[in-house]
Amino acid sequence: MAPRENSHEPSGTPVPVETGFATLATLRVGTKAFVEKDGEKRKAEILHMRSRRGKPSFYVHYEDFNKRLDEWIDADRIDLSREVEWPAPEKPEKKKSAPSQKNQAPSKSDQKNLKRSRSKAEREASGTPDSTSVNLPGKAQRPSKAAGKENKEILVTSELPDGSTPKLEDDDIDMVDVQDAAAAAKSLPNEVYSREDEIEKLRTSGSMTQNQTEISRVRNLDKIQMGKFEIEPWYFSPYPTEFVDSDMVYICEFCLGYYGDVTPFERHRSKCTLLHPPGNEIYRDDYVSFFEIDGRRQRTWCRNLCLLSKLFLDHKTLYYDVDPFLFYCMATRDEHGCHFVGYFSKEKESAEGYNVACILTLPQYQRRGFGKLLIDFSYLLSKREGKLGSPEKPLSDLGLLGYRAYWQEMIVDILVDGRVEANIEDVGAALAMTTNDVLHTLQNLNMLRYSGKGHCIVLTDAVLEQRERQKEKEKKKGKRSIEPDKLIWKPPIFSAASRTWNW
């Protein structure tokens, strides 16, 4: 959870928030004010401020909106007629747990580094340093007074409230967790990760970050140009720092190389000979092709791909290199070449049994059914491997909806064939889905019910209606699906040497 959304922390004590009226001059990073968004006023937090030609602008995050809707706004959209919430000061350093203390150290030294003032500002903006301790039981209450310009400066002087007792886990949460424990034991993202824990975990497996420090940053690119499209990035991605000043970053559709200006990009295009993702084509139908790319063999291309996809995946981490992943890239074809549409990455060896690490349809191709093809393909690979698979967590909001729709369609399709009995594990095995995912899908659709005689699976009117509509749509628009016999692929086998993380 982003640290700024304190009000939603289940274990958070309601912190007295200092409110008051602000002027443009007194607005600062961390302040929450009402901002006009699509015709309504929404509470938003100022994450960053800048001034261009004497005109201030503010980078704001709207409460309860996904970070991809964060944006730069002019001062006139901020409603100063209403009270604002002043930022809470940071907690004293000595109260922090050991790992977060470590975390704090570099950021302090960084403060001296004027060269990187921007990244410093970002960290400040997201309130990174105290985020790790937010969830820790027994944490101190926030000092109620905010004073001084620089939050960090007041840390030392702020006093600890007397008698602050360790806060117990919310009863409510406890109950729910018990209820769900059977099904959800593995994929719980509510574990509290310290950054160090997480980095160690990521060293050996996984591609997603759970940690708040990674995920709340100001977007660094304004716009990218790729193929026939101009796209607004959604999230931060560690492209070269120089690009912060570019109005547009140009990305080669084939090698995914990046250029901060149109001239070098055009020069590159005159030299670049790549016409498709640089790997073996393992699937081809009338509509799309899939290419398998080894992160170890195509380091540059895969890094380029990760940088690009980080623009649209909040939780993806680029902390470590691409070696342990395979990238399955989907492309459409024409005389220009194979246009990269979307991909999913997959660990060569997933300790957790994930069959997808990151999955993305490029925004310019979204809402056209490509996501379903990607998901379907990932399960086809799992079927070939004879394994059950599940996507790495956390899922994004779009990822969750995509997967839920796919799971629902697949499971209902199986159940609707006239059978009178079904067994959850068998359904999972037929779809290469984990038992948990089948169970969750059934529960979520209210298809798993209990009567006096025991559990039963109910094909509800809602899911049947949904299926009808889907079939209707397919009849009209044509059905796009992955044809298993067009996959020419054997699960790759990696020697211990090629799998290890070294170079």
């Binding site: 101009e230 492209y239 902390y319 909001d397």
Partner: protein, 570 residues
Amino acid sequence: MTQRVTGQRFRQRKLSTKQNLPVLRENEVEKLVDDDATRHIPRVETGVEKGEEIEHHLQAIISAQAAGTAPSKAAQLYIPTPDAIASKLQYDDLYPRHFTQPATYIRFSSTVEDCIGTTYCMTSDDVAFLKGYNHKKGKSVQCSEDEFEEVMNFLEETSTTKQPYATVDNAPVLPYEDMEAEFDETIREHSRRFAKPIYEHWKNQRLLIGNRSLIPALKFETNLETDDADPYVCFRRREVRQVRKTRGRDAQVTEKLKKLRKELEEGRYLMAQVKRREVLIRDQLAQDKLIFQQRSELKEIKRKLSIKGDDEELLINQRPAPKPKPKIDVPAPLRGIPGMGQKAQMARPDGRLLDPDLVSHEEQVAKRSEMIDGFVEENLMKHQKWNVGWIDQTWRPITPPLEQPAAKSNFRPVFTSAQLPTPPASVSSEEAAAEQMDVDQENKQVVPRRSARFRYASPPDDVPFQEQARFRRRTGRGGRFMVDRRGLKRQKLESIDERVADRFRYADDSSEDDGVTDVDHTDTLHIRYRIMIDRQGEKQHAQAAAQNRRSVENHNRSASGHLLPPSQAG
């Protein structure tokens, strides 16, 4: 959050995922009003980060779906995302129509670096500089964009190698002299002409940005403490587990390095030799051309001086006059390779003397061909011995078919071309030479076996050997004259309609063992059977030989089943 609240009062009911559950429709389930579970949707782990799970747009969709009502409305809900709009750039100019899809799935292993040419790409500043520079210079010394980029790239790369920490150290820009000293094959001769002026431009550009790289680069780990907090630092190496150092491991590593080194040198030597060969071929071609030109000049002179004579001999390389039975050619691959000459090469291309302990390539080649010849000889002998008293009708039972003359000498073809409705199909000259049933067999020169190499001949399919009718007269015991026939076709048998024959196949009620079998004496079945037996023998022999062989990877048997000599790795 609302879901959590509703979920809290359920008791966990045991559910076995292995157990078959009845699948029912909604109308088949009793409405159990008192059961909480049927009224509430249990909270299900979404896998989405908790903080994001409660986001407005996602919640709107989830609750719409959960409500189960008005799904058409729910379908219209979606999560808003920032825009993607059509670009103003001319796509067709940037991405020409170069792609043709191969019939088979693409297999590709080139890297990005292989495909993008010079990494450095000109900026608008560079364009301006180059324009100015070329404007000042004459037409003859124009610097192309490619040359410019090549030099810039060289300067960038050299600077990165020589000053890896330039950004941290605040190191001064490398002087031109240092750059010049580093010139290598990455910068072509004709690009070097522009190195100096481009260096000045490059230096200015570097100075503008504090001697940082002109190509925007990612931030990699510097192993400084600031790394971890810097969101721009990416793609870190996953540390290698420290391997404990031991003497044994050291030795192992040394051995491996030595081996790699040796293999590299061998590869390099091979490449040098290949290069040498190609140069020699080029020289030879030049010589041939020269000879030809001089000959044609000579021809002109002959014309002028009106010397009569055959010009042919001038223009065509002299070859030994064709003999009645020409030699079997030395196979082309062996003929064409320079460096396979008789003289042992005493020095390596780098001028160093050959190590006397080293086995020279020539010796190896000689030894090898000796082996091969010996093997052939042996098999020929064996085959001939085996054939004693028999006529071998197989088509080249083994290659080379050197024993054939003896075996077939007594047969004479019937030369009835005048009466034949069609002339016999033509055979290639080589074949004609080898197979001709000449009367003057005795006159033929014995071809030295040494020169007999292999040919990868397959039986001609156009004219089967057997089809030509031949006869042989011999004297049997008691002075009987016998005429052996070969290649005769009996019309009668062939003209029987197969379908008619088939009809009577089982009409005869005699059993197999009492009847008299009709034998068609012109049938080649028995010969074919023998060939089969023969080949099986060869196969067995080859298998035995294989055990003595060092290399088992080479298949010593051609696809047609002909025996090939053992391959010698070496």
